[in-house]
């Protein structure tokens, strides 16, 4: 599953790092680093993090209906392949 965080929006509240620690981590006190390619078994945690981010900074696709920014994205993820 692909994801991207708009770090201009991110306020470092660390909600995501709390809910999906294998995908998101704080680096120092405020800087967020993350894995933009979350493994499949993180699906549910990632969806929770997307939903919980107070500034909605996380965009993910391939979540199968959970936490998408756009319902269209729920359709088979990439039209590139």
């Amino acid at each position: 599953m692909r994801l991207v965080v708009d770090l201009n929006k991110c306020q470092g509240y660390a909600q995501c790092a709390f809910l999906a620690p294998d995908v998101f981590a704080m680096h120092g006190e405020e800087a967020l680093i993350y894995n933009p390619h979350a493994p499949e078994e993180q699906r549910e945690r990632l969806a929770r993090a997307v939903a919980a981010c107070p500034v909605q900074a996380i965009t993910a696709d391939g979540l199968g209906g959970m936490g998408e920014t756009d319902t269209q994205a729920a359709r088979e993820a990439s039209d590139v392949r």
Partner: protein, 463 residues
């Protein structure tokens, strides 16, 4: 533009986007989201689908992400024809055609140019070819650099202490690698944030064990008998042995392919109006060629109508959305791209963010926190107005300062702020280097005439 034409364009027109990265992808999605039903083609010279670059110098080097997996999530289906791995090599404005490297030509009714920038290479070609001399702009660059860092080089040498160079040095230290950074200016980040903040960045580097050399230039890269880089020669006559050299000297606009097209395109980017419509070389606005992202130069009402070239992730997204909207709209429905410049970086565990245009400010006030603690907000002033703010580990205040910039709030900052220290009561010179001297990676460039005296009320675009 006649209403009929726009109707027809939306239904069955052909839109071509050159540059299949962040701006190109977001523009394609916006076109579809706003009802464009015609033929959409994306042309990209990299063989990969659009991926995100900021993680390449952060999560990827820190081992948190794979350089091969930073593809951007799609917000919606684009139903586009992707021509990846083939560069656009020319543009015929009259025939409305893009020429490709494989000899093909693609016709368009409207064109979006989103070709971004590339890393400025080491100027001496034979030295640049030495094994171990790296750049960091693309996914392939990142894979190569990662591999070399993992192999445990004895020393890494970074040329240029802009954001990218500093982030690379930070990652090296975290991996326990010895690293030397050379910078022509007096401190890291001076082109972007000025000398006062640069001094804080310098302390961060040296305290974290970076061998920082300022006021020096690299004069030569030396190779061994089998063509591997082995040492770096500096203008102060010192020689530093290193087996990985990262060239981080800022970027060059990808406009070469537009040479001779008649567009107002050059080394500073493609000039456009506030609605993202490209200018031709006579300064006349076109109506079927649009520009977005790092390659664009566009005037901004908030900053004296100066042309801004921004190498900012957020700008690429916002400008792509505006350009896409305007491409399929009638004149009266078009919007200006009046995005508040915003940028982030993180290094040595410190979160750095800025809003507005710091290099426009002559003066700086530390309105919250203190430089010594490396936790502060600095506000930049120009001609009595607030034009930018920077924060070190103090993100949550930036939104407030962004509003101050929009309002053209007076500078020096008069309102009382939380956590204001005595040293922050008076402005100091922000200490930017002479703009005529080259610095590495300012990431925001002012490149236009400034009507010195103007009054305005800014209404930000609502998306």
């Amino acid at each position: 533009m006649s209403a009929d034409y726009v109707e027809w364009l939306r239904r069955e027109g052909r839109i071509v986007i050159v540059g299949a990265s962040l701006a190109g992808l977001r523009a394609a999605e916006t076109l579809r989201a706003e009802g464009f039903a015609g033929e959409l083609t994306l042309i990209g010279d990299e063989p990969y689908e659009p991926y995100d670059r900021p993680p390449l110098s952060k999560s990827v080097l820190l081992g948190k992400a794979s350089p091969r997996h930073t593809e951007l999530p799609h917000r919606r289906e684009t139903d586009a024809k992707w021509r990846l791995g083939v560069a656009a090599t020319g543009l015929d404005l009259t025939a409305k055609r893009v020429r490709l490297a494989d000899g093909d030509e693609v016709e368009y009714d409207r064109l979006l140019i989103a070709t971004g920038v590339r890393a400025r290479p080491w100027p001496k070609e034979d030295e640049a070819r030495l094994d171990g001399v790296c750049l960091l702009r693309t996914r392939d660059d990142a894979s190569d650099l990662c591999r070399r860092l993992k192999a445990g080089p004895r020393r890494v040498f970074v040329i240029g202490a802009g954001f990218a160079g500093s982030e690379i040095a930070s990652a090296c230290r975290e991996m326990g690698l010895a690293v030397t950074v050379a910078e022509r200016a007096g401190a890291p980040l001076v082109g972007a944030l000025g000398g006062v903040i640069g001094a804080v960045a310098a302390d961060l580097q040296t305290e974290n064990g970076v061998d920082l050399r300022t006021h020096v230039t690299v004069t030569a890269l030396e190779g061994d008998a089998v063509g591997r880089v082995r040492a770096v020669h500096l203008s102060d006559e010192s020689v530093v042995e290193a087996d990985v050299v990262v060239v981080s000297l800022g970027s060059q606009r990808n406009t070469d392919w537009l040479a001779g097209s008649g567009l107002g395109a050059g080394p500073r980017g493609v000039a456009c109006d506030a609605g993202c419509r490209a200018f031709d070389f006579r300064g006349i606005v076109t109506d079927d060629v649009f520009v977005a992202g790092d390659v664009a130069r566009s005037p901004h009402a908030l900053f004296g109508y100066q042309f801004l070239s921004l190498e900012h992730w957020g700008n690429a997204v916002a400008q792509a959305e505006t350009a896409a909207h305007n491409m399929i709209c009638r004149g009266a429905e078009r919007r200006p791209h009046l995005w508040m410049p915003a940028f982030w970086s993180s290094m040595f565990g410190v979160n750095i963010k800025s809003v507005g245009v710091p290099p426009m400010g002559e003066q700086l006030m530390i309105t919250q926190g203190s430089l010594a603690e490396r936790r502060f907000v600095g506000v930049y002033g120009h001609q009595g107005r607030v034009v930018a703010a920077v924060s070190f580990d103090n993100t949550r205040w930036l939104e407030f300062y962004a509003r101050q910039i929009e309002r053209g709030a007076p500078f020096p900052v008069e309102f009382p702020t939380m956590d204001r220290r005595p040293e922050g009561r008076q402005p100091v010179a922000a200490d930017f280097p002479d703009p005529s001297l080259p610095t590495h990676g300012p990431t925001v460039t002012l490149s236009g005439y400034s009507p010195a005296d103007q009054q305005l009320v800014f209404h930000p675009a609502r998306h």
